[in-house]
Symmetry: D2
Subunit: 396 residues, 4 copies
């Protein structure tokens, strides 16, 4: 077997967290991801908007009480002044707080790792992008599925031309956890994710549709130009979409379909991508992420395996352990943290970050918002084609 | 293990065939299907429009030379007058000959087993439906995937309400055999299937999209009302679509997606159906047809197996051999033949055919044509919603 | 897609059947297999040892009452004298009647297609082999799994040296239908298969273990020399083994394991073979028989598909329909019938049967008996190594 | 979705490491496992027997140079005297150093986390067990596959009687990385793992066979009493076994088979366990560890999923993230570390460790050695049955 990947370079970076207190799902995920490769140490937090909960959560995590803050503004202000203040912050709140929090830390010169989707609205996202561009900020939006080695393998194979000209992209992301009106029970995750005030206009498309969208663009290297979206709320009384059927047209002529659902019984977290070109096809499933099916046209399909023979450097450099020893969701998430750590260290050293370091940036965050916006507008117009908003960066 | 299904009841029915001479694919399939359960014996044929080929093919099949006909008109006329003339005819020509041939045999009072799609155009299909209605004819259109036991199991479970109210239907049918311009090489199957004059306006949607469509309606018990279709010809110079992305809206409110492709490398014959309701979901894959994944919401998914525990009578009555002994494509096809045989025998005996006997009829044939027609019109109008034509039977 | 395989050459051969009356499992399988390719027509039978049942069964199958016989002796005698008597007989009785019936037809010069295992004892098998050798008889023993195209592909790849020197063979055949004492309920299949008088000394190893054994030898091209067997009867009161754990040593040094069980809940008919050599490995599963996993060492595994790219002539010549259109158990079984038909026609024409025609012969039947005998003796001696009896043909 | 598992309780425990310097595989795994849940902090090490390498490795890991030791004796001595010395040590050297190192730390009152197999010989293992028993030591032997949630689910289901009386256990662990004489190239892992002086008498059975053995005993709750082993060295010149075929007999009457191989091309790390009882069967595959197939006899098989419906507390308490978000090898390994942390904290607090806390102990380590010893002796005696040595603890 090959050696496991080298770990922490000397000193972990200092990390703060906004949100992620007791009962949160994604906050704990970010913490495990930050710890796995030893690149970050959590030292500060504004873990909850409820003061006692914030303190309790900080204590449970062993944070210095002096660095448990009542809100992100206080945290950004003080940490920026500390000699050994945080070097990065993870924003893991409900969506409506992403942009305000990100702006606060960007102004303080602190790198931002923000959960997806980037914002609650396209306007809000535009504001953040412009501010970040102006400040030259380092931002990662945690479209975590792009951290999987075999996703990077797929991207590299497309980029290397192995598939020929791309023709068809099929991406789907079915879940079943909102099959019944879970939000009516007060369940925390269901509650805010189906509330347009906190989740934004997109329900299912915002929560998971953007993941599917980002994965499709990330692997194909193509940009979606237009969408025609048929959004449904299958559960009576639900205020946001819980099922999305979307046709895609990519720049360059490829076509695609995107299905996202949270009401498809039997599906846990069924993100799946298939890409087809004139020379071959690829298929990847998130629930069995260590394999990638590669079908060169006219030859038998091959099962490429993480850590196995025939892989590209893009995949092997983010592989920790040998093939057959499955890496999972947390490892892929951790890879984004390690990539960001490399970028932060390079910037601190005045160096250019090596080109192979790869994580979803503000650009991906913006694209996700443009996708949600276009899909919602298309659905409101009976699934007519709607063009995605172009980047404010490019426009400025 | 359970006993294998009882076979032929005494005397095989006399079968004729139009098309299916040397080099044909589907003709040989029909013959094997007709033979498997011993319900039919091939005794006459107009196997090719090329006279010598027709004779050679008839000889190879051991037909009486006197019953090898130069064309279907001659065959229909003479067989109708024979004391022991054919009781059914299988029409396995390219699409443009389906309706003319079917009309000839319907007029002669001979049961028709016609390959799909039913016709070359909606107008032609309408003519056939009206003629058949008037004649009280027995017609089967070989949407053969509805012969699989686990497809019938799925249909029965939906009908029994196990899935609750249906919300989402996902059906796909990818292949890869037209990834390159195979028609340019003169390959027989590719040649006529990409020729609008012989295949009709639909390429991929006519050849396989209608299978997917029929399967979705057959299992869900719902009717598609509207489609929004994005059709492509990915291969330069191809005269028909080879990839179809279609949004579906069903009567009653369920939504769906249909993907059909003949340019998706790595896909052999990947028909797959998923149906989701308020209480559970089902998933079936044609390439592994003996399993059906059943996911009652909130419980672990179950792998239902042909011949295994927990199956409905609808599945077991078309099961020949025990679970774990895979039945395949030919068995499903043969089931349609055996079902038609039961219907013919019942009619001959002046009995009502038992309600459990099930095969795709002219109605399914018409629906398939209405689907192709609507999809082609939608695609021509940039994927706007188009309503499927209503049945000429109902209208008359 | 490729064309389906050419079917019946003019005239079907005349077939008789011994056993296989009402309620039988394997008799119906043989009949479907005999019909599928149109190479045989069932015209005579001694379908049951119970006279009324024999008549009823014959009537249901549409046999001429004059050719429904009370016993196989009568059938062999009369059919041999008929001008158009049977050209082959299928013997599908319980095991203890295989040899007496086979001897009767061999003497009459009629080709024999006999179900497995060949006999009830090694001594009985020896008698048959010697008689057949003397008569130059044509005998097929229906180790039907050797009819699968991908099994033949595997055999061809091993023979072509693609795997290098073989080192390890793993074969298993778990079922679950005897998990409970089904024989106590009077179920017909369980009744005779657990009765040493009718099934022979081996229970599970005779019924399915010999299939696994034959498959291992057929694909590897190697002969098992020694076995060390641990046989169990897991169900109280059962008179034969229902679970078998066996170590194998092959001529030439390869080693293997064989597991057969009828008490492994969740297993339907889980025959699976894996073969490993110095250059690569193969894996095949009967329940998904259209795929073969080929792993050349140091390269990504490939999924070879029946009808797909990269297959050997040995596989394609027994393939009926294109890849993705699954062929199953009956098709594999039918292939043996078609191979035997070729052999019979060649012999009738005074020609040498082409070398690519392949079916399990008396040699395979003998090997299976030698395996059962050695396993039972090994188990009785606490799993010590026992050498398989050598062939009476070679010895004579 | 459910919340992710709560993480670090306030203060991480101080961990030291013996072995695991540059180029090591398992050392890096232990470090990631130790970090994931935030329960341990690596503060000291004797990372290599080569002094410069030890220093370089320590620096790369950010260790205080004062706590980078030249050898484990120096480390044990000094850390025992430090006020804030290590509370646990991970021993990740080649096998021949496990026992000497473990003895040193046990004497110093430091908890030991030792890689498997426990020792280089049964005698050495016996010495360690007796010393540990005398000292009341806390020892974990990292049979890491017992950390998987679905393995614990399987164990709980067996213990709860859902499978009825166990009859058959099938366990296999094929790999392919030693298909060619990799040790001849100087590859570090292959080098020591095929050297009896450093790996012990067992090659493949020591390296991976013991994992399979432990998993079988852990899940079944049964003890193997006897083995009959056929061990091979398939690669010319190899000094240890690289393929093992072993029959198992369990206390209480169940029987089993164990296959371990490092020369089976196409197998990465194919540990797989199947357990069958009178009421049902279970199947688990390490390479897709988040699923467990549960087949209650006479009902459709169910796919149990980590984090999904119907799971036991034994599985959910070691689950970090929701179903469909795959956890992998490192997570299972980390669970052992977190379990040990609970035990250490309980002991430090003078409390009894809660009974649900579960990790492989010295008992499992001993059992593994008794298995290797018995298998090697059996193989030397032509696979005769050999009884496993009984525990020195029980004996003393």
């Amino acid at each position: 077997m090959v050696s496991a990947r080298a770990d922490a370079a000397t000193r972990p970076l200092r990390l703060g967290m906004v949100g992620g207190g007791e009962g949160a799902f994604i906050g704990a995920v970010h913490r495990m991801a930050a710890r796995l490769d030893g690149q970050f140490e959590l030292v500060a937090g504004a873990l909850s908007s409820t003061p006692e909960k914030a303190l309790r959560s900080a204590a449970a995590l062993g944070l210095d009480p002096a660095r448990s803050y009542p809100d992100f503004m206080a945290m950004a202000r003080r940490e920026a002044r500390l000699k050994e203040g945080i070097e990065a912050v993870a924003i893991v709140t409900p969506n409506h707080q992403h942009v305000p929090a990100a702006l606060a830390f960007l102004k303080a010169g602190i790198a931002v790792i923000c959960d997806k989707p980037l914002a609650n609205s396209l306007a809000e996202a535009r504001r953040l992008v412009r501010a970040a561009d102006a400040a030259g900020s380092l931002v990662c939006v945690t479209y975590n599925y792009s951290g999987y080695p075999m996703v990077r393998q797929a991207r590299a194979m497309v980029a290397d031309g192995l598939l020929g000209d791309l023709r068809v992209v099929q991406v789907e992301y079915p879940q079943d956890w909102l099959t019944e009106p879970l939000e009516a029970t007060g369940q925390k995750q269901a509650d805010w994710r189906t509330d347009p005030a906190r989740a934004g206009a997109g329900g299912c498309i915002g929560d998971i549709g953007t993941h599917a969208f980002q994965l499709a663009e990330f692997v194909s290297g193509l940009s979606v130009q237009q969408v025609a979206a048929d959004l449904s709320s299958c559960v009576a009384g639900r205020r946001v979409d819980d099922n999305a059927h979307i046709l895609l047209r990519f720049a360059g002529g490829a076509r695609g379909m995107l299905w996202a659902s949270q009401v498809a019984p039997g599906n846990e977290n069924g993100l799946k991508l298939r890409v087809y070109g004139s020379k071959g096809g690829l298929e990847w499933r998130q629930e069995h992420p260590n394999q990638l099916l590669w079908s060169p046209f006219g030859q038998p399909p091959q099962v490429l395996a993480r850590g196995g023979p025939g892989l590209s450097p893009a995949a092997t450099r983010v592989t920790r352990i040998p093939s057959g020893h499955p890496e999972g969701y947390l490892e892929a998430f951790a890879t984004l943290y390690s990539e960001v750590a490399r970028a932060i260290r390079a910037r601190a050293a005045g160096e250019v970050c090596p080109p192979e370091v790869l994580f979803p940036t503000l650009h991906d965050g913006w694209r996700g918002m443009a996708f949600i916006d276009a899909a919602v507008r298309s659905a409101a117009a009976n699934a007519r084609w709607v063009t995605l908003a172009s980047s404010p960066s490019a426009a400025s």
